[in-house]
Every structure is written in structure tokens, then in C-alpha cells.
């Protein structure tokens, strides 16, 4: 009997469509795998009935000879940042514990419309703030990977750590992620899977709990470039309910996938050679260059001179927006309310938010409030916006010389949970290579490259021109075919 949990999106979709197996068999297998993987703590809630109902609907359609959709028969994990109608949506926070929306986010609705089903709501860093999945109110997520020779719990990355852990552990063939400053790419790199953040505006933000509105983008996380292409097609598209949504048709990325890079130029940004980057990462970068050259591409040096300012600018802009976006969690209309005896309105705000937000969320709300306050606004926020413009211009110039940029996804491999808790700045450095593309709104993807000497996965990042997800996916495919990354975490859960 086939072990369905080893199958990816494309294999499941094609197998169900071709009658090799039923969607229900697949859903049952994954439901069982999810139930058996509680130790990963990847899910906040599981929704086996949702997955089964969607599977049955797909099987029924097949029986009637109807179109099964782009994701027909594929059960997925849904990051708990997406509002799902009638299913608890928390952003991994206490303040939204028990909150069941009366609406479905545009992206999740599109996935259901495309035939996917939901295995459950995936754990994440609280309000998507974090790079290790240690800020969730519902506990850390464990990576399925272990550092060779140790039994320490490893970070699956963040904020989409539930997503990366679940996909890497084969308890979900794919999952949604969101990426504000690397939250899809860094966890993908840490767990040996693929993840793409499309151009800002490709996926609707409607119904996604906001962290930093000008940066937040949803995207797929899966084990192959093909699977990402398929799922992104299902997720993307113009949404009149999101004023920043791109009014463009969704290309048929899957059909146009090609690992032949003849005539393409791949840029290598010299500023990404930073102190503190693991030698193994630098080595894998070299290997990546060789693979793309082998695929027919020409390798060119490019410069992104403002790279070193990107991370500080990000840590002003994102908290500034977050401090305002999170003001709505005030205990008045929904979610947690802490009303001490005799308390007035201000006391209720203070008590509710003190109890409802975790430390990292509070840290960022404080930073954001500070940088927007009178007298500091120009020094921080205005400067950061100028840097953002310069970073975007860097990319524009670089893309005059190349079609796609190759860089590491992260400066290091995964680290043990708890090892960076007292050092937020080092934690923030995890996203140093991911943040520039976020500031510029560019499509960017992480693909698995190799396993380091500790037995941990390393990823490579591809950054494309605006709207050129295809170029990113194609270069990713070229690496995937040559890297031959087939390592799997050993099951310990």
C-alpha cells in the first residue's frame, strides 16, 4: 500500500484525478499522521472533519466526471493567521484564544474552492512575530530535524514554524505561510522544504491577521518547486476587498516551469557576504552558482549597496505598522477581556493587553509606538522609509544586469530552541538575507540545497523581478534538480 504521506501536492492531485487512489484515503492518512505527531506541536487545532469533507467532495466530483480543481484532493495545513470561518483563529495569541471568525480569508477560500481540505490550524510565532517559533502562546513548535548526535529540540524557524515543521515531517503535503520579513523562507530553509513569497499584492491579505500591512504576503510551503507553483496558482489573484491587491491575471506557473536557464543571468550580490555567515552556507552558495551555470545561466556579480541598512529599517517599519495594526485588540468587541474590579476603560485596555500579548509582541508594539511618536518620527520612521526606497532602487539597478538573484536564505542553519531567547538582536539577524526582498516587495523563494555537517538542512534563496514568480520558480527548479535533496528527518515523534 502507498504511504500517502510521502506524496506531494502534484502526486496527490494527479493520483486522485487519475483514479489511482481516493482523496478520502489521502485525507485519512494525513489525519492519522497529524494525530500521531502531537509532540511536534505544529497544530494549534486539528480539523480532520474539514479534510475529510473536502476529500469526499473531490471524490464525488470525480465520480461525476467534474473538474477537481488545482488542488483537488490535497489536504493542507493552514497557518493560524488566516481567518477560517467557524474555526478558532488565534494568530497564536492569548488575546484571540477562542475567537471563531464569521468569515473566511480570501486565500483560504480560494484554496477550498480549488479542492483543498484543511488538516488543521498551524502554530506560528505570535502575530507572526518571531524567527524561531518560540513566541506562540500555544507553545514552541519542534522541528522534526535533530542536530546530529544531540537530542535537543530544534527550531523549525519562524514565524511559519508550524507550517515548516508539518511539511518537513510529512504530516501535511503542503501548508500556507505568510512572509513579512522572511517568515516563509527562513523556516523553509531550516526544515529542508520549499517556500515562496510572491510579489507583494499577488495574494489577498483580506482575512489574514495583520502584522505589518505593507510587507505581509501569503505564500505556499511545500516539498517541491512544482508543488509551490501549483499551490501559489490556487492562492493568488486580484481581490477587490484588498486595496493593495495586484490587478493582474494569475499566470499558469506550473505549466511554464522550466529548468532550462539558457540566456538567463543570475546575479550574485556581493554585499550578502557578511561576517557571521556559516562557511557551510557560503559553500552551498558556491554550489548553487555552479548548478545554475550548469542549467545554462550566466553568473554575474551585482551590488545591493544598501543591504546592511535593510534589517534596521525593517525593524522600524514592521513594528511601527504592527503597533497600529494591533491596537484593535482592546477587549472591547471580541477576544480576551480583562476587566479588573472597579476598572475604567484605560485600566481594561492595559489589563487586557498585558495579559493577552506575549513578550515579543509587546516589545514590537513598544518599538513601533516609540518610532512613530512625536519628535522621533522623522529620525526613525521617515529615515526607514527612505532606506526602503533605496533598497528597492538597489534591486531595480541590479535587475538591469540580471534576471534573478541567488543568495543564501539565512546566515546559519537551525538552532536549538531556547538558545537565542536572551538575544533578540541575534535572533533578528536570522532574517538579514530575507528582509531586503520583503522591503522591495519582490518575489523570493527558498529551496533546499544541502545538509550541513550537523545533519541540518540549508536553503538557497532566489529573488526575482516584480511579478516574475516564474523566473524564481524556474531557477529554483534548476537547483532542485541538481541538488537532489532527498534527506528526511528521522521520525522521533
Amino acid at each position: 500500500m502507498t504511504d500517502f504521506t510521502q506524496l506531494g501536492v502534484k502526486q496527490i492531485r494527479d493520483g486522485v484525478a487519475g483514479g489511482d487512489f481516493t482523496a478520502r484515503e489521502v485525507a485519512e492518512s494525513f489525519n492519522a499522521a497529524v494525530a500521531a505527531a502531537a509532540e511536534l506541536n505544529a497544530f494549534i487545532v486539528t480539523t480532520p472533519d474539514h479534510a475529510l469533507a473536502a476529500a469526499d467532495a473531490t471524490d464525488a466530483k470525480r465520480a461525476k466526471g467534474e473538474d477537481l480543481g488545482k488542488m483537488g484532493g490535497v489536504p493542507i495545513g493552514m497557518k493560524d493567521l488566516f481567518a477560517t470561518k467557524g474555526v478558532q483563529t488565534t494568530a497564536a495569541s492569548h488575546i484571540l484564544e477562542g475567537f471563531k471568525p464569521e468569515y473566511e480569508s480570501t486565500v483560504s477560500q480560494k484554496l477550498w474552492d480549488a479542492g483543498a481540505g484543511m488538516l488543521g490550524k498551524l502554530n506560528l510565532d505570535q502575530f507572526a512575530m518571531g524567527s524561531s517559533n518560540e513566541t506562540s502562546y500555544f507553545g514552541n513548535v519542534n522541528s522534526p530535524w535533530k542536530k546530529a548526535g544531540t537530542n535537543a529540540a530544534m527550531s523549525p524557524g519562524g514565524s511559519s514554524g508550524g507550517s515548516s515543521s508539518a511539511v518537513a515531517a510529512r504530516i501535511a503535503p503542503a501548508a500556507t505561510g505568510t512572509d513579512t520579513g522572511g517568515s516563509i523562507r527562513q523556516p523553509a530553509a531550516f526544515t529542508g522544504i520549499c517556500g515562496i513569497k510572491p510579489t507583494y499584492g499577488r495574494c489577498s491579505r483580506w482575512g489574514v491577521v495583520a502584522f505589518a500591512s505593507s510587507l505581509d504576503q501569503a505564500g505556499p510551503m511545500a516539498r517541491s518547486v512544482e508543488d509551490c507553483a501549483i499551490m501559489l496558482e490556487a492562492m493568488a489573484g486580484f481581490d477587490p476587498k484588498d486595496a493593495t491587491s495586484l490587478q493582474m491575471d494569475v499566470p499558469n506557473w506550473e505549466a511554464a516551469l522550466s529548468a532550462d536557464l539558457k540566456g538567463k543571468k543570475v546575479g550574485i550580490p556581493r554585499e550578502y557576504r557578511m561576517d557571521g555567515t556559516d562557511q557551510a552556507i557560503l559553500d552551498s552558495w558556491e554550489q548553487g552558482k555552479a548548478m545554475l551555470r550548469d542549467a545554462g545561466a550566466e553568473i554575474v556579480d551585482v551590488s545591493l549597496p544598501h543591504t546592511k541598512y535593510a534589517l534596521p529599517a525593517y525593524y522600524i517599519i514592521a513594528p511601527a505598522e504592527a503597533s497600529s495594526n494591533l491596537a484593535r485588540y482592546d477587549g472591547v468587541r471580541y477576544g480576551l477581556r480583562d476587566l479588573p474590579e472597579g476598572a475604567g476603560l484605560q485600566d481594561m485596555y492595559a489589563a487586557t493587553r498585558a495579559a493577552g500579548f506575549g513578550d515579543e509582541v509587546k516589545r514590537r508594539v513598544l518599538i513601533g509606538t516609540y518610532v512613530l511618536s512625536a519628535g522621533f518620527y522623522d529620525a526613525y520612521y521617515t529615515q526607514a522609509q527612505k532606506i526602503r526606497t533605496l533598497v528597492a532602487q538597489d534591486f531595480e539597478k541590479a535587475f538591469e544586469q540580471c534576471d534573478v538573484i541567488l543568495a543564501p536564505t539565512t546566515p546559519t542553519a537551525s538552532f536549538p530552541l531556547g538558545s537565542l531567547n536572551d538575544d533578540p538582536l541575534t535572533m533578528y539577524l536570522n532574517d538579514v538575507f530575507a528582509v531586503p526582498a520583503s522591503l522591495a516587495g519582490l518575489p523570493a523563494m527558498s529551496v533546499p540545497a544541502t545538509i550541513n555537517s550537523d545533519g541540518l538542512p540549508l536553503g538557497l534563496q532566489l529573488v526575482g523581478k516584480p511579478f516574475d514568480e516564474q523566473g524564481v520558480l524556474n531557477a529554483g527548479l534548476a537547483i532542485q534538480q541538481r541538488a537532489g535533496f532527498e534527506a528526511q528527518p528521522e521520525k522521533w515523534w
Partner: protein
Amino acid sequence: MSTYRIQGATGEWEVVIGLEVHAQVTSNAKLFSGASTAFGAEPNTQVSLVDAAMPGMLPVPNRECIRQAVRTGMAIEAQINKWSRFDRKNYFYADLPQGYQISQLYHPIVGEGALHIEADEKAGIPEDKIIGIERIHVEQDAGKLMHDQHPTMSYVDLNRVGIALMEIVSKPDMRSPAEAGAYVRKLRSILRYVGSCDGNMEEGSMRADVNVSVRRPGEEFGTRTETKNVNSVRFVMQVIEYEANRQVDVIENGGTVDQETRLFDPNTGTTRTMRSKEDAHDYRYFPDPDLLPLELEDSFIEDCRASLPELPDAKRARYENELGLTPYNARELTAEVETFGRFETLLAATAAKIGKPEAKVATQVANWALSVAPGVAKSLGDEADMANATAEAQASILAMQDKGEISGGQAKEIYEFVLKDGGDPEAIADEKGLKQVSDTGAIEAAIDEILANNEDKVEQYRGGKDKLFGFFVGQTMKAMQGKANPAVVNQILKAKLDG
């Protein structure tokens, strides 16, 4: 130059006034959500997911609200900014679900403009004046707290949350309560002409923040106070009067005016401190990242301009120059949308009925509309059913008068019957015998009798005592029971006496 001065113990003080008027945009839906804007609905029945600031909800600008703001800008001859942007004004309050108001601080949609107020000696405005307008921006309204529903808690009604407001900010160009009153009235009139705000101050569709300071005439501006949410023209004027005198007292007693936000108490006509500068919020304005900058296309701007109606100043000039109305009549008729609307309908109906150009009958119609008709309605009080005051009926009365079939007095009488019971004025005139006699035979007979009975007076008249002509007219009218057409009477008398 305004001559309004506060007479202090140490001399004269001039008052400097600027107004920020919040006008609710006339639109079926809110500024960033599809929820309805109707007034007076049950609490929390007109609230969308966006208005309630549910997680993940996003604002999408309502084109109609933007259009109304642009049209308003054009009506005050302001610069229309083709590129503007929304900012968030952050503060916590229970009537503000998002925790921020979406407004436009840095780049408003409408830039500098101007509003003309007319001289009004009686009101204390010696000459025409132009009041500068700094800007108009659009923003969301907040909800409403209800403190009388529960002994220890306040309830929140979110119906008003997210309704579009225009904030119209004047320059500190006004110098007297009268000027400020004229400014608000004129602004209200323009908004109502344009149709961008219903101007209903009682329902809160229009309210003003009143900035007042005092100074020695010609010197630098003093420190200002801002009195919030004043909701009638009279109150605006009261606030200025009270604040100016209060500030003069403070300064003359050796104190300094604090820059602060104040509240007006309509019951006492006074203002009191709401919060001082030290307590002022830090609103942490920044561009709303959920919204792209607002870029207006040329075609959109052209459509807005093409849809503008004739505005008060232009209409007034046309009434004077083309219709030949007096400046007083022209001003009265153009002050309110309803007034000129009724007038123009009646004018058209009357001109059509009589078969003359509008300009030939405009004065008659204006006098009727401004003085005669309201006088009749007022004298009837509750007996008048204004639903009967149709343009058709009034035009019919005016046409009979124009043709000499009825006198002015008869016109009023007929109109009385029309207002009370409705009906066709011509039929009423016939039925009630309210028509002038233009039958020369009957009039001639009456005159012959009067002349025969007053031979002495006829002699005197013919001897040069012209004034006696009035006597003969009076006698004739009396004999005819007031129903003779005076013009015919004059003509026949003249012929018989002078002939």
C-alpha cells in the same frame, strides 16, 4: 475691515477666528466599507466587519466619497490634489474599533481655496470679505458611546463608525462672531448646493471646531483655544463671544491663555477646559499601509467638474443681471437650496403660463415667493396645507394677476383658499367671485353715475384740482365693490374727465 472689538479694561482687543468644519459626506455607504450611513437606525445594525475592526479586515476607499470631496473643493475654488494619501491617527477609545482613525494629515485631497462672505451692515459685516480655506481632507467618523443604558458601564453604538467626513479647515481670517456665522452659513449653503453634505447641524452632519485668540489690533496672533464639536451657527457665535471675553479677562488680569481644547455648554453659553496641551494625545500619524496613495485621473476630475451645479455666487449674479431682481431678492432667493429650487420651478411655470420670457415675470414671481406667499401661509398658520402650494397653482394665480383678471388682494384671497382646501385657482376665482371686472360697460355705467352725482367735484377737477382724480377712482372701486380692474377704471375716468 471688521470693526468688532472687545472693550477691555486696558483698551481694545481684536478677535482672531479659524474654523474646522466637519461635514458628513452624503453617500449611501461608508468611506471604507459597504455599510449603510442612514441616520437613526437601531444601534449596531449598520456595522460591517471592517467597521468593527475584525482581525484581517481591510479598508477599500469608496469612490463616491472621494468624488464628493473633490466636487466640494471645486466649489470653493480650491486646488484639487491629484495625489493624496491616507494617514492613520492612532489613539485608543471605545468608539474607535481600529484604534486609529483613517484621515489625511500630510497630503490632503483638497488644498487652498476661498469662500466669499457678503457685506451685511445689520449683522456687523461692513464689507464683502474673502475667507481663506487651508485644506479639505476626508476621514472616518467614530462611533458613539451611550452612558445611560447601564448603571456602571457605557455601551457603544458603532453605526457611525467609518462614515465619511470632510474636514474643511479655514485660515484664521475671521475677525468677529458675525463673520464666523456668515462663513458657516455660506459654507453650509455651498455644501448643500453641491450635494456633498446635507448640512443638518441638529443631526450632527455638520459641526465645527472653533479656534479663537485675541490680540491688540494689528499685533501678532495670540495663543488660541480650540472649542470642539459646536453644532449650530448661533453656538459658534456664542463660543467666540464668550472665549474672546474670557481670554481678554485672563490677559488683563495678568494671566496667559493656555493652548487647550475646550468644550461648549449650550445651557450656560460658556466653555470649559477639556484637555490641556500637556494632556494632548500623541497621535503617531503615519501613512496607512493598507491603502495606496489616492491618484485622481484627469477624466475623474473632469467628471466632477461637469457635475457641479450653478453655485450661490454665480446664481445670485445671474438673478440680478439676467432676471433683473433686486440685490436683496437675489440674495434671499439663493441662500438655500430649497428656496431657489422652489423659485426656479415657479418661475418656469409662471413664464410658461403667461407666455413671456422668465426675465419679464421674475420680479413678480420673486415678490410673490419671498413676501406674498409666505405672508398668506403665515396668516393661516395650521390651517394651511403646504402640500397644496404647488407651482402649478401659484403660477395660475400669478398668471391671472398678470392678465389683470385679479387684483393683488384677490390673489392673496385665492391663495388662501388654495392653501386651505386645494383646488384650481381659476375655478376658485370664478366660484367665489374673486375676479376683477374689466367689462368697460359696467365700469362706464358706474362712473357715469358717480360723475353725475358729484358735479361740483368734476368742476373743481377740471379747474385744475388734479388730486381729485384719486377720489373718483376710490368712488368707482367702491361702487364696483373693489372688483373693477384699476387700469380700466383709470383709463375710462381719464377719458371722461379730461375728454
